[in-house]
């Protein structure tokens, strides 16, 4: 499995005051891969994700996106090159409908001067497109006229992710996507991740739940104390092996 890398990071370090959160971490995600980033609390997972999505600049290290050296200074620049972080609070507009949420900031306008100069929305077209789009993700959300506030946790996740897909992002970062969801809903989210992969996206999943990780990920990278502790392909590893990498217990056994 040596395909092209969508993102490659070399020697990434980041300190907060005296705490070294990341210490010369190498990291890569291949095209159309679901990569799980696991590790104990404080291992540096979130810091790494925030560096990729432009929230923090790294102290040291280089980032290559689709083979090009890039500098990601803020979340907007990350989005411009095609990286989207799906935030845990999901950033949805609860009292606006699903279609409005999906197209927020990328609205479709009526043809002619009404749309061009007066910015009149083509609501019909947006509803139709978002309905087709959600069908394409094989997600049943009911009507696109529902307000986001009445959706279930899984459906909200779909809308948040759908927005990123609709905007043609290439790499999605999902931080604990199934945390705080029920069993059925986390099942929906895992299915969604599979569908996204089918659509050709690359996905970085940060999760504590090894069961989820094993059901969706292609590859797992383990961080421990800000260092890369190991890398395993899901097909050729076991939960035990990953747990040992997470806690660093190889020595004892």
């Amino acid at each position: 499995m040596k395909e092209k890398k969508i993102i490659e990071m070399r020697g990434i370090s980041k300190s907060f005051g005296g705490v070294r959160a990341l210490d010369k971490v190498d990291f890569e995600i291949y095209f159309n891969e679901v990569l799980a980033l696991v590790g104990d609390n404080g291992a540096g997972k979130s810091t790494l994700a925030k560096i990729i999505s432009g929230v923090y600049p790294p102290d040291e290290g280089e980032i290559f996106f689709e083979g090009q050296k890039v500098q990601i200074n803020n979340p907007r620049e990350a989005r411009e090159i095609g990286i989207e972080m799906i935030y845990q609070n999901l950033a949805l507009f609860n009292r606006i409908d699903v279609s409005g949420n999906l197209f927020m900031g990328k609205e479709l306008f009526l043809p002619g001067i009404w749309g061009k100069y007066f910015k009149f929305l083509d609501n019909k077209k947006m509803h139709k497109k978002s309905y087709e789009f959600l069908q394409g993700l094989k997600i049943d959300i009911g009507s696109t006229k529902k307000k986001a506030g009445v959706l279930s946790g899984g459906q909200r996740q779909v809308v948040a992710v759908g927005r990123a897909v609709l905007w043609k992002r290439k790499l999605l970062i999902m931080d604990e996507p199934a945390a705080a969801l029920g069993v059925k809903e986390s099942g929906e989210v895992l299915k969604l991740i599979e569908n996204l992969k089918e659509k050709g996206l690359s996905i970085l999943v940060i999760s504590h739940n090894l069961q989820h990780v094993f059901s969706v990920a292609d590859r797992i990278i383990v961080l421990r104390n800000g260092r890369r502790a190991g890398e395993k392909e899901v097909k050729y590893t076991t939960g035990d092996e990953i747990v040992k990498l997470i806690v660093g217990a190889d020595v004892i056994i």
Partner: protein
Amino acid sequence: MKRRGSEVGRKNKTGFLGRSLSSEAFKFVPLTVLLVVTIIFLSIYTERFLTIGNLLNVLRQISYSTILALGLGMIVLTGGMDLSLGNIAALVGIVCASSLAAGVNTYLALLYGIAVGVLCGSVNGVMVSYMGIPPFLQTLAMGFVTQGVTFLWTRGYPVYEGFTPQFLFLGVGYLLDIPTPVVILLVCFLLAYVFISRTSYGRYIYALGNDEDALRLCGINIKRMKVLPYVIAGFLACVTGIVMTARMQSGQPSAAGLTMILTALTAVALGGFDLTGGEGSLIGVLMGGIFVGILNNGLVILGFGTFHQLIIIGLTLMGALSWNVVRVKR
């Protein structure tokens, strides 16, 4: 977050449409009931209320504060507030009246007035958005400034010289037997309604009140979007000031002020606006405005004075605000 189990898994589109429409309409049920009950009560207990002349009179009386309320409603949608609109309207009226008194051409006088009002609105917007001043305090301060300028300029005396027929038409004229202020209110309402519900700006205004950070993540220039409703409200305050001045045939320094904001805010609250932003329909503002107008008119017919009106409108505002809080919590 509310979850309704019965909705999950249903595919019937007309069902959802019906449900969402009925839930939209449900918001106006209490207000409609209130309106109908008040109208029936006044029709039975007074003879003067249910006449075409009186009803047109009510519509004309509400037109000033309701035009103002349309702008206030947009600001409230973003989670803001504007207490200065009434005083801006009074200042605009004085600017127009004084310009006419000085022999300025009607259209130029209108332009001066509008320029002053839009400037005040813009200052409010910029201070709130770019400086991060709490809207209550910024607009309260602006209210004092505009009121001070108004009184300083006129020394407290009304200005009633040099009104032209074209200017007076805006307040006392009729178009197709309908008083001009009512026509102007309807035009303002239609424009504002289409703007807020059909354009992307309108959608951003709603979204701003829903979740500012989320909107920023969508790549929208939040700061600029936040200024917009204050500018529009400033413009609508100009319209109010002009129509009111033309109606009274004099520029009254103490014409509007806080009382008018009280009335407008009551219309907005009755219209089901959540004062933390993000929810409300301008149709509600119009209905709320009509209700306040009928209430005032009924009180006058029943023999109550201005002070009673203030108390009743204030209590109505409290009631409407409490109802909205209860409704959102439910």
